[in-house]
Amino acid sequence: MSRRPPRGEYIETDTGNKVARKATLVGTQNIMLGGKTVIQPEVMIRGDLIRSIQSSSSSSSSATPNNTAVAIGRYCFLSRASCLRPPGRLYKGAFTYMPLRIGDHVFVGPSSVIQAASIGNHVHIGARVVVGEFAIIKDYVRVLDETVIPPNMVIPSFSIVAGQPARVIGEVPEGGHEAFELRELYKTVGNNPPPAAA
């Protein structure tokens, strides 16, 4: 920790994304980052798992197929060794992947695996969490550590979720909304982060 790598640990993009050099991003052309997103080392994003069957509506409207596999909003934080993987299933007799959409201010804890269909805004996912395929997580949801969210589960807004399989164990109180903001966390990482307030 004391020895800083010479080139800087992170690549900082024009839109403010901080992507660790040691992160594994596969199929980068299919990964959309909204900006101000932190991707820590050892994170894996599977952008290569694109939709192999275009839905009829999109193929007819546009000539170039929309190949986005993973779409991430602003101020997201992907902790070390987490994995984002688009969900896949049989669709009209053939196997296809579907895009994984993540909103703004989403925190993904270390060693978590995300295969959700969509994750809303202001979501906190703890460490070692497994989010099953095609799960839908709405806004202001807190997923505690080591939760296993079964496939196809829908988690409504303002839920606190824990357990294997996940169940809603509580409600996010009214005063707890601000705790989901990740602006301050974004500032603390980077190549030359300001020293933590002493």
Binding site: K138, D139, M153, V154, I155, P156, P173, E174, G175
Partner: protein, 583 residues
Amino acid sequence: MAPLNPYTYIQCPCSDSASLGRPTDLTSPTSADGDEDNTFDPRAPRANFSLYPLEYLLYCEDCHQIRCPRCIAEEIATYYCPSCLFEVPSSNLKSEGNRCTRSCFQCPICIGPLSVTSIETPPPSSTLLSPDHAATPHSTYSLICSYCNWSSTEIGIQFDKPNGIHAQLAKLRNGGASRLTAKERKERRKELSHRGGEAAVAAAAAVAANESSGGQDVDLETQFANLKLFCNSQLADPSAADNGFSSLGDLGFSSPSSLSRIMNLYTGGKLHDPRAKSKLGAMREALAADEGLLESNLNESSLITRLHQSDFLDTASSTQICSQPPNLGEPHLHGASRFNSSLRPVPYLLRTKRSKRCPVCRHIISKPEAKVQTTRFRIRLVAGSYIPSISIRRLNLPGPNGPAAPAILGDLLDPLKPVHFLLTFKNPIFESLKVTLGAPATTPGRFPSKVTVLCPQFDIDANTDVWDEALKDNDRESSSRSRRRAGTESQFQVEVGKIWERGRNWVSIVVEVVPASLKLEAGQDVLKEDEDVLEIPMFVRIEWEVENGGDDATSGPGRDKDQKEKRELAYWCVLGLGRIKQG
């Protein structure tokens, strides 16, 4: 032992502080005069119910008081299904109950969500071999849990359509047999009554018929319908059915005279009222299955042998049984088994969006938007935007013997060694705050730790606009840091009465604690749960001035507009600092 993150809990004033004293304090004189002097004890059994993290507290702007989840009045704004997120109108709620009536089900085994999946049906049977059916293979659907692989086919339930599962399931009994409809039930009754002319004969025939068909054919709904029909007919024509059931008739379980008899008992009348006696026997008990009589199946040997043969894991837990919705199509309780194999899919319980009112002035202090998908609030008066937040950090000062080791949160505290904690108060309001702290010199409980608040009185500057903060961000950061550095770098020392550090709208102060030794003396009980946690009760009093707004009811007409009104708020809070090292 699990590490303990420092925490701050705030006591809601709704709980009576006078009654929160320790049980051992009962000898102390009346608490009426000593309300202010009584130290709040976070370990009192009742304290658990009045302490909340700041996020859970609301604030009533009219009463100028903190409100906790326990003292607010809730009103349900919207009911919705947590799975399909569809709103359920309250009229549906009355008729359909508090569960989702669409296709949202939970696995009865693991509570995971169930999804509708089509089953590959084996080649159609002989009836479907006709040419017009051969083209379209008939597919059925089942509910499958993708977490534990439970399938509704395990209880013999399949569906014809992939939608409207709730309605389809309501008609199906376990094993796939369909539930009797009211019409079918009526027809069956008619059939039975045709067999015998007289009621008694019909009853006997019904018993015989039931016995031949296994006796378990009567489900709850049918039994109730039969019993109701029977009672109605009895009430309508009491003289018709007279038989030798006088022994039970004496007790008058179901006779219309029972009410008058009971009334007689309680009004001091004679037990055997002659008038009542004349009417006794007017009604008789149900005698047969078609009259609603259900014989208890006391022979449970088959169930017991099945229990012997099965695993413990095959039996349903009480939570699994409790989560089962009432199923009218099932046999009576005597027939119900406690095996996993009889559990049915559980429709999702509805969830609500609720608005919250102050219990005193009835003003709404939290009101979400009614639409299910929106997360906005129309009104949201949270305590966090009115009272200062307190964050705790351990402060390690370089001692005389070299530099300090970096403080790790959750570290155990060494007993009898002074430690310093940094409390940072952050002012959320746009006025400057005057804060006065009070803490007992020793913590209450069996192991008193010594507490010294080094700076019990200080001012916090007002909060400023979010935009100011954003614009001045870098500027402010450097200035505030330098402000502290200049003062403290030369002498890293804790000074009594001095603020440790101050920022734009926050102030840090130091609290010195000497943790108690947890050594048990002879005759003392063993350490109770969490008794090693160092908790400090602290009384916080904040004062601020507000400009008298015209809309404020308290401002009289004669008052000057410029005059500032003084407000104050005082409450107890508990600071959990860490665990004390044992032994």
